[in-house]
Symmetry: C2
Subunit: 140 residues, 2 copies
């Protein structure tokens, strides 16, 4: 059986990750300036993203944003979790979240938060998250 | 009448902000290493915090974390909103949120998110936020 591996995202993963993220939220890939997107992503040291590789293919993506709070605490925010449809049932999602939790732990986070739809509560509870509050959003 | 002013946080605000944040979430201020907290806060360019000044006193604090997403989008997360109890009813909270929204807008955010308790939904709706999803949390 082929192994599922996780590693930090590299520039060469971008095209695959763009396709994958379209399963989460559609965006016209032709409108993305990959060079600028990559440069800006790398320039923001608080964004940490990993990919999951299976059969030499990127099959999952996730990110954790690290926040340095004014009183010295460090908080993590899990963002943009997506697992390829073909990989359901292989525990890829749980492993991905655990990898991001590990990154948060290494960075010294005292807590990690995430937003999700109600139907995903059970999934995130499997990695130790608990429903805490309301998430509100404003588009600019 | 004295004017309410907003500006970026400076090192000299720290003691006041620590006291203010204790109205939100208690933390033993003596345990905070201000020098390290300030250095780490400043080193993370994605954290932007402002204070509200009234009668030469820091009476409100809020932060917006800027996230560079892998597809080039920029997202903002509003964090740690606190208004001094003595300032209730002066629209300080709404003005503070609007200042943070402006910062997000200047930074190119396409959307801003925040977590809050159910009782604060009405307040945030006044600045254009809408209930969107569930927030989950895990302590490390």
């Amino acid at each position: 059986m082929n192994e599922i591996k996780f590693r930090k995202i590299i520039r060469e993963d971008l095209a695959d990750v763009f396709l994958l993220l379209n399963q989460l939220k559609e965006k016209d890939i032709n409108t993305i300036d990959s060079e600028t997107a990559w440069k800006n992503f790398k320039s923001n040291s608080s964004s940490n993203s990993i990919v999951c590789i299976y059969n030499d293919r990127v099959v999952a993506y996730g990110s954790i944003v690290i926040e340095n709070k004014i009183r010295g605490d460090i908080a993590g925010h899990v963002e943009d979790i997506v697992v390829d449809d073909s990989m359901r049932g292989k525990m890829v999602g749980v492993k991905l979240i655990n990898k991001l939790i590990n990154i948060g732990s290494e960075k010294g986070c005292y807590r990690i938060t995430l937003f999700c739809e109600e139907k995903l509560i059970n999934f995130y509870e499997r990695t130790g998250f608990k429903v805490n509050n309301i998430m509100m959003k404003k588009f600019l």
